[in-house]
């Protein structure tokens, strides 16, 4: 059985039909890139997967658990789904170390020493071990995003959702974040990314999902799909971004 399963998911914002029956199933260890124009529903889709947004019809199952946007359910989900945001959303009043230690201490009820060990490990992994006692605002955007990744990893999620995580970064800082993601992919974590990084999608991704007007318009192997798009909409989109 797949790790993430979406079945005929419909989502409305008032009268606006954002997601029009999404079917998608993702296996453990896959790296999925969701691409598409802004307004195509790709971020909304991602936010439905971890319950940040409610959906009105259909079903989403993650790791055997039905996803709803109820608070209790979202918290259980947080144990298997991590999320990284475009603008990092680090906690500015806490040090880098405290940011990473917070959820293991409070949610997983680990001891301080244990949580600190996890935090140091995770920061090591993203190459920021020496920033443990710094505050987020003393870090560059790329470093902040890597801290956010470490913070999510500290909960040892099975799936990591990445919502345009390099879009707010200066071009020269994008590489360091993608490199961390690549390492994670090699280690076998499941990644679902909403992204504009076509090279990353092609080189690291297992599958590309092209969304258009709230539907999965085309999906498949990135090397095939990105070089040989079947629909006019994808051709047009790739023409605009490549």
């Amino acid at each position: 059985m797949s790790l993430v399963d979406l079945h005929q998911v419909h989502k409305y914002y008032g009268d606006f039909h954002v997601l029009k029956g999404i079917d998608l199933s993702i296996n453990a260890g896959e790296v999925i890139s969701i691409i598409g124009k802004s307004g195509s529903g790709k971020s909304t889709l991602l936010r439905c997967i971890n319950g940040l947004e409610a959906y009105q019809k259909g079903g989403i199952v993650v790791d055997g658990n039905e996803v709803t946007s109820e608070d209790v359910q979202v918290r259980r989900l947080a144990l298997s789904v991590g999320m990284i945001f475009q603008n990092f959303n680090l906690f500015p009043h806490k040090t880098v170390g405290e940011n990473v230690m917070l959820a293991p201490t409070i949610v997983l009820k680990k001891s301080k020493a244990e949580a600190e060990k996890i935090a140091r490990n995770m920061l090591e992994k993203v190459g920021l071990a020496e920033k443990f006692d710094n505050y987020p605002d003393t870090l560059s955007g790329g470093q902040q995003q890597r801290v956010a990744i470490a913070r999510a990893l500290a909960m040892s999620p099975k799936v990591l959702l990445c919502d345009e995580i390099t879009s707010a970064l200066d071009p020269e800082l994008v590489g360091e974040v993608l490199k961390v993601l690549e390492t994670l992919a090699e280690e076998g974590i499941t990644l679902i990314l909403v992204t504009h990084e076509m090279n990353f999608a092609r080189e690291v991704g297992n599958r590309v999902v092209f969304m258009h007007q709230g539907k999965v318009w085309e999906e498949g192997d990135p090397k095939v799909l990105l070089t040989n798009p079947q629909t006019d909409e994808l051709k047009q989109f790739l023409g605009a971004v490549l």
Binding site: R75, N89, I106
Partner: protein
């Protein structure tokens, strides 16, 4: 007729200032406590509770403090509850202070990015955990300066208690004026004392604002 020397006037005013300070403190403590409760009600997101808070704020922000005092003092005694000027003053100042503080604090909590709530939620923190570890520590930083700044309004507001007969700085000023017929001198001194009470607070509020704007 008793003669009042300048020293007598000042001594009497300073004595009355104690009551102004005491009333301000009581009102501020009462006001922050009620405002905390109202803020908690608002944060639950329950629409009925939200409505209660909104009506409360509209009523006490939308009517003069003096009328609130009159209603507390005279209104309650007509209904058969004897209430001292002191209690009526504290009660009405508590309403007044809390109605403004709850709005000030709401503004402070709203300035925090929505992403802080979302990131906490994605990490598995519950509502109260998010409030305690993420939202409040940041909101308190932002709220301290305007809250201290608002305490100036509370101090000045206590002057109205003189009208319902509570003997504080303004009331003693009026009494001294009646005895000396030197309104300019007496009320200038009263004003100077108010200024000396208020100015350090507004100065401190500005210092806090600068401090928290620069760093975390």
């Amino acid at each position: 007729m008793i003669e009042f020397s300048n020293l007598d006037i000042i001594r009497n005013l300073l004595f009355a200032t104690q009551w102004t300070i005491l009333l301000s403190l009581a009102a501020f403590i009462g006001g922050t406590s009620v405002a905390l409760a109202l803020t908690a009600m608002r944060l639950t997101g329950n629409s009925a509770m939200n409505m209660v808070v909104r009506v409360y704020v509209e009523i006490f922000q939308g009517t003069p403090l003096l009328m609130q005092m009159f209603i507390c003092f005279f209104g309650l005694s007509i209904l058969g509850y004897e209430i001292s000027a002191w209690s009526a003053a504290i009660l009405s100042l508590t309403f007044f202070t809390s109605a403004f503080l709850v709005e000030i604090w709401r503004g402070c909590i709203d300035t925090l990015p929505k992403g802080q709530w979302e990131a906490s939620r994605c990490l598995g923190l519950g509502f109260l955990q998010t409030l305690r570890h993420i939202i409040l520590p940041q909101a308190i930083r932002v709220a301290t300066a305007p809250t201290v700044g608002f305490s100036v309004q509370v101090i000045k507001g206590t002057a109205l208690a003189s009208i319902i007969g509570f003997v504080e700085l303004t009331k003693v000023g009026t009494m001294l004026n009646n005895a000396t017929f030197e309104p300019f001198k007496v009320f200038s001194l009263v004003a100077i004392i108010y200024f000396l009470l208020c100015y350090p607070l507004s100065w401190y509020s500005k210092v806090l604002e600068k401090k928290f704007n620069v760093s975390r």
